[in-house]
């Protein structure tokens, strides 16, 4: 598979505080996140000449944000979409640079995902008339992401015997990771019983199977390996990227079966083919956790275990810090805050640098204790290869493999 392995890298990352009331505009948050990422990379205004963002009619476009930062852009584009956009946009940024359109691209996502346009479907979005494609589902009370995905999760339980207790282990692992993360909204560790004992939201989803809606902005800066040489941070090199890869009948995923199959089935050969590695070579995964189930479905679809054995995989301890291949070491969407995928790539960049911002007193100098008891370390020892598994819906996904 042709690709651009090792020619491009992530050189800067940044984010705002994760909160439920930002009390400011998506423009203001985006500016802060980008400024932090530029500072992280050691880039000046004159060095960033590309900008991309993704949104769903709930954010500020790149050309407004760039003005606040004194940037003059040679390329900008705002795309429609949520989850799975991060990885795909990294690939598009590489393409824009490769085509000679620009040299360095800042990608951002900024949303008041709790206080304004709630991702769960309430708030400003719920008041809109129901028309077009929505008529197939919304009149039947099927509107939110959880309601949209639940039949896929339920069918997986039917076909493979996957249990609520098994997928609850995803929340348990991610809450453990969040307890090591000063940025996380939900730092308390939970048990399997806490998850299965929480109230039903949309069966088979309990409250704690669902992520935490959040106000935040996030930024990732992509440039060429050549340009990266004199920047501040150790680059995270892109080995392979895929996105947004689709199943057939992307309009309604339940039209083409098996509905327990998700887009990773089609993306895995693209991304692993470019990278020239296998799942067992990956040290850390970041599997989109809008819900506990989405993490599980993707890990099995990308071949970290056999199809249908995702429940066993995620409940085996493998995905926890201290396990063989930790997943979502920041606590991510379920516990840190919901970012539409950006934060999981940011976390993996920090893992590859050895500079995860945990409670180790000298983490900024790369000194970690590797003590995973509560309130301590979340750096994975010797992380060399990370993978991100991005999810938009069951039929749409993206993936990214990086190394240091």
């Amino acid at each position: 598979m042709a690709g651009l392995k090792d020619k491009y890298c992530v050189v800067g990352v940044g984010e705002t505080e994760y909160s439920k009331r930002s009390n400011r505009s998506t423009r203001a948050m985006a500016v802060e996140a980008i400024k932090k990422a530029m500072g992280d990379a050691g880039l000046k205004a004159a060095d960033v000449d590309g900008m991309m963002s993704y949104q769903g009619g709930d954010s500020t476009p790149a050309n407004w944000v760039s003005a606040d930062l004194g940037l003059r852009l040679n390329f900008y584009m705002d795309v429609f979409g949520g989850g799975s956009s991060t990885e795909a946009l990294i690939g598009l940024a590489m393409g824009a640079i490769e085509a000679g359109m620009c040299k360095t691209v800042a990608l951002f996502r900024s949303m008041n995902g709790y206080s304004d346009f709630r991702i769960g479907g309430t708030g400003a979005r719920a008041a809109q008339p129901v028309r077009g494609l929505d008529l197939a589902q919304v009149p039947f009370g099927m509107r939110s992401a959880g309601q949209n995905f639940a039949p896929t999760f339920m069918r997986h339980m039917y076909e493979y015997g996957t249990t609520s207790e098994q997928v609850a282990a995803v929340r348990v692992a991610h809450s453990k990771h969040a307890s090591q993360n000063p940025k996380a909204l939900l730092k308390e560790r939970v048990t399997v019983q806490d998850v299965t004992g929480s109230r039903w939201i949309c069966k088979p989803l309990h409250l704690l199977d669902c992520c935490v809606e959040t106000d935040n902005a996030t930024c990732i800066i992509v440039t060429s390996a050549e340009r990266a040489r004199d920047l501040r941070q150790k680059p995270a090199y892109v080995m392979g990227v895929a996105g947004r890869v689709n199943k057939p009948r992307t309009d309604f995923h339940w039209a083409a079966g098996p509905i327990s199959r998700v887009a990773g089935y089609y993306a895995k050969d693209i991304v692993f083919g470019q990278a020239g590695i296998k799942p067992e070579d990956v040290d850390v995964t970041g599997s989109y956790d809008a819900f506990t189930f989405t993490t599980m479905l993707q890990l099995e679809e990308y071949g970290f275990c056999k199809k249908g054995e995702g429940g066993q995989y995620v409940s085996s301890g493998i995905i926890e810090l201290g396990g063989k291949r930790p997943n979502n070491t920041s606590g991510s969407h379920l516990c840190e805050g919901y970012t539409h995928g950006m934060s999981m790539v940011i976390e993996n960049v920090r893992q590859l640098r050895g500079l995860v911002d945990d409670y180790c007193p000298a983490w900024a100098e790369g000194k970690h204790s590797y003590d995973y008891s509560p309130g301590k370390c979340r750096q994975v020892k010797n992380a060399k290869i990370t993978m991100n598994l991005g999810w938009a819906m069951p039929p749409t996904g993206s993936a990214l493999i990086m190394h240091n």
Binding site: G120, G121, T122, A126, P129, V130, R131, G132, L133, L135, A136, Q137, V138, P139, F140, G141, M142, R143, S144, Q147, A150, P151, T152, M154, R155, M157, Y158, S164, R199, W200, I201, C202, K203, P204, P248, R249, D251, F252, W254, A255, A256, G257, P258, I259
Partner: protein
Amino acid sequence: MASVEYRGMNLVIPENDSEWREHFKLARGHKLMLRACKACGLMRYPPSHGCPWCAALEWEWKEVSGKGHIYSYEVVHHAIQPGFKEWAPYTVVLVELDEQRSTPTPDEALRIIANLVTPDFKPAAESTVAIGKRVRVVFQDLAEDFALPQFTLTDEPPVGRVWSL
């Protein structure tokens, strides 16, 4: 333009909505009609302009029996749409229709989203829903030219294993 108020939602079908404008009107005549490709003969749902399998643009309406079984489902306990709060817990079913099962590939079928309701359009009790159970279409009239196809349980023998969470 059709504009219907239902459970606090404004369902809107402009005249140029060539996918949906006839669908709910046909349902008001208490017929479940799907689009059938004039080239390959395969039906599809939701209504689309081109055939998902052969991309031909010519199609015709074809009536189906409205019988099928529950392929998957969910039970919404925490309704997010205000008009559904009094309905909760309510069940959303993914119904696999009897026509065209495992066609054109083993994993494909005509599937449709609806609520599992009692014959008088109340949400069916949560304890009655299960994958594999047989259902039939019932039409919930909302306006002179608009009905929602919904599904209700029948006492026919199930399709495969019966399972519920």
